[in-house]
């Protein structure tokens, strides 16, 4: 009888506790750390971090299927007489100074000199943001280090669940994990090689689909085409992924991951040292940059140096002033064309001519100035009370469960 009452009490208690999972809760401050760059909050380049979209908004928005949807513009019509696309501005969009957003014709009328698809994709790029009208507002910042965002109570899409978000920037993943262990952060980035070690009680490990391309970027124009191609052919991606990345991530010769583009397998990844030796001129040299703050990239650079030297190219590693750099390129959109244009913008290379995604990507990669090697997922360590966290950095739907 006594046990029956205990069982009943547990049953009732579990009902009350578990029933709370049904609805997101409003309130609380989320503490996030990121290795992302210092330019959040800098209006001249709001595209610089994944959180900028929470503050600055565009006319149209790419949804989770890669389709362009109305955002600050609610509709668009073609005015054949004027030769323009006319965007309709959303009403009730409140700016930080309390006034309503009333954009002029320079924003809402776009000449129809391009296909509509191209106009929409361009309008959705974060560096084309037209208003500081997002779900969050900047309340405090130390450029390059810290930013505090507060909920926009009047957000047209509904007030976000969180009251505020505190973001520490430019933190190495090692430092982020230390802060997480010390209870100073609720969400931190982790390395793909740390996934197994992170799986412990009170840590939720969230691994996205591949969203980050690891690529070798040739900054120095004096490195000739044949040397760049020889370098690309020298790298043993499969071996590196197996041994150094603990079989995490995906080997790739493409900028966009297969799940987004569907054609990544068309870009070759095979190593061909014999051909690389044929291409590399005698006495060729190459300096590779390594970032002392990025443990995984640093180890990959060391291995690339070994692989490339086997093709007869003398390689040295350095901290700065190098011929090539191994970088992480976040894929900021699941729309292939938008993602490629964003990458071109961030890499400061000429945007590819508008066309089918495969042709655009082939144009970006044709001269081997960009040599993709791997696709990494985003890996996050979260406290268990953090709900709805997404790799896209959409903070407005994140909420904190009551402890």
């Amino acid at each position: 009888m006594r046990y029956r009452w205990i069982a009943l009490a547990i049953s009732c208690l579990s009902a009350v506790v578990a029933a709370g999972v049904l609805r997101p809760r409003y309130g609380g401050t989320l503490r996030v750390e990121t290795s992302a760059g210092p330019k959040i909050g800098a209006t001249e380049n709001p595209a610089a971090t994944p959180f900028a979209g929470q503050i600055y908004e565009t006319l149209v928005h790419c949804d989770s299927h890669g389709e362009m949807k109305p955002w600050l513009a609610t509709a668009w019509t073609h005015d054949a007489a004027m030769g323009k696309w006319i965007f309709s501005a959303r009403k009730n969009v409140v700016l930080p100074n309390g006034t309503l957003w009333t954009p002029g014709e320079d924003i809402l009328a776009v000449p129809d000199t391009k296909p509509l698809d191209e106009i929409l994709v361009e309008a959705s790029l974060q560096n084309k943001a037209v208003a500081e009208s997002g779900a969050f507002r900047i309340s405090n910042q130390r450029p390059g280090e810290f930013i505090r965002l507060v909920a926009n109570e009047n957000y047209w899409g509904g007030r976000p669940f969180l009251d505020s978000v505190e973001i520490q920037m430019g933190r190495t993943r090692h430092d982020q994990l230390l802060d997480f262990e010390l209870g100073k952060a609720d969400v931190v980035e982790a390395e793909i090689t740390d996934i197994k070690a992170l799986k412990q009680p009170n840590v939720v490990v969230q691994v996205s689909k591949p969203r980050e391309t690891i690529a070798l970027i040739f900054e120095n124009a004096k490195i000739s085409d044949p040397i760049r191609q020889a370098v690309a052919l020298s790298i043993d991606r499969s071996s590196m992924q197996r041994v150094m990345l603990d079989k995490q991530g995906e080997v790739s010769g493409a900028l966009l991951p297969q799940w987004i583009s569907g054609y990544a397998f068309l870009f070759p990844t095979a190593r061909d040292v014999a051909r690389a030796k044929d291409l590399a001129p005698p006495g060729a040299t190459l300096s590779l940059c390594e970032d002392p703050r990025d443990r995984v990239l640093r180890s990959l650079v060391d291995r690339i140096a070994v692989d490339v030297s086997q093709s007869g190219i003398a390689v040295r590693t350095a901290i700065s002033a190098c011929d090539a750099d191994l970088v992480r390129l976040p894929i900021r959109s699941v729309n292939p064309q938008q993602a490629l244009l964003s990458l071109a913008s961030e890499l400061r290379v000429s945007a590819p001519a508008w066309g089918p995604p495969f042709e655009m990507e082939r144009e970006l990669l044709h001269d081997y100035r960009i040599v993709p090697l791997f696709q990494f997922p985003f890996v996050y360590a979260l406290r268990p009370n953090v709900k709805n966290w997404s790799a896209q950095g959409d903070l407005a739907d994140v909420w904190l469960e009551e402890n």
Partner: protein
């Protein structure tokens, strides 16, 4: 609010949807095969024929992949007297938007066609608590009232009325709320839609509602309640207290995000029924409840009538 038995109309519509979806999928495979064959053929000289090497790296079912291959082969020009053979590697791939069929023509050309993905939902399994699909849509779904001859659907700022032969929609001017909530009451020709921070009243025929900027009271399990303006909560109720009272003292609750549970007077679980997604609303409806869920994979919202056999409990 009362839920009527499934009408003949709904049955016919369901059957038609199933038949059409199968037909549409078959058509898409055939269309895709023809489109890709045409693109491949454009790269072949008159005396050349294609030799296909096909692989499937997508979620396309094996049977469909075989069918697609045979349709593709049949659609390519048959040149039995061709002097040369061109190897063509065909990959049934997929991307964020759907299937992507890629042909690498071993003359240095690549062609692609996009083929839309057709998702087939799993058949519902029967449990003690019965569920019946009332409505499905891709936009947020807040509440559904099914009458004998019509279904009234409340979306996030929309009301839709579906009769056997016509459909009417009206857009409501209400404040946006993240995780939107809404409750619909139908009384004869009168419609009332309750939202956080707004209440809309009007008529079904003609379909018209006027909205005011406050949360009015509505009945929930016999108690008067109202939505909290600008929030996803009901004033004075904790999330766990949003239940549907059934069978004199029992209640239906969402204990887990995809599970409707029948609790008896003592709070013990008497029965459970699983939905294929996250429950976003659970409202009392007649002798049971109306459960709205969102399938995270298909991103479709669906409303189910949950009925309880009170006599058996």
């Amino acid at each position: 609010m009362e839920t009527a038995p499934r009408s003949t109309f709904m049955r016919v519509v369901s059957c038609l949807v199933l038949l059409l979806s199968g037909w549409a999928q078959a058509d898409q495979i055939e269309d895709g095969a023809h489109a890709l064959a045409a693109k491949i053929a454009a790269h072949l000289a008159p005396q050349e024929r294609a030799h296909l090497v096909v692989r499937n790296i997508s979620g396309l079912p094996a049977a469909d992949a075989i069918r697609a291959r045979s349709k593709l082969e049949a659609a390519l020009p048959r040149r039995s007297r061709a002097k040369s053979v061109v190897d063509v590697s065909v990959t049934f791939s997929e991307n964020i938007a759907g299937y992507l069929w890629v042909a690498e023509i071993h003359k240095g050309e690549v062609e692609m066609v996009a083929v839309s993905t057709n998702t087939v939902s799993a058949a519902p399994h029967r449990q003690l608590l019965a569920k019946r699909l009332l409505w499905e849509q891709s936009e947020p779904l807040l509440d559904v009232v099914q009458q004998v001859d019509r279904t009234v659907v409340l979306g996030n700022g929309t009301v839709t009325i579906v009769h056997a032969d016509k459909r009417s929609d009206v857009v409501l001017d209400i404040p946006r709320v993240r995780d939107p909530r809404g409750r619909l009451e139908v009384d004869g020709n009168t419609l009332t839609a309750y939202f956080p921070g707004a209440t809309c009243r009007g008529t079904e025929e003609p379909l018209h509602l006027d909205c005011g900027g406050s949360s009015a009271e509505f009945l929930l399990n016999g108690d008067k309640v109202r939505f909290t303006p600008g929030r996803n909560t009901i004033a004075g109720l904790r999330p766990g207290e949003e239940t549907a009272s059934v069978c004199e003292g029992m209640k239906l609750v969402a204990l887990k995000e995809d599970l409707v549970t029948l609790l008896d007077k003592n709070g013990s679980t008497r029965d459970q029924i699983e939905l294929s997604g996250q429950i976003t609303a659970l409202w009392p409806a007649g002798d049971g409840a109306l459960a709205v869920m969102r399938n995270p994979e298909t991103e479709q919202y669906a409303a189910y009538a949950i009925s309880v056999d009170c006599a058996s409990h």
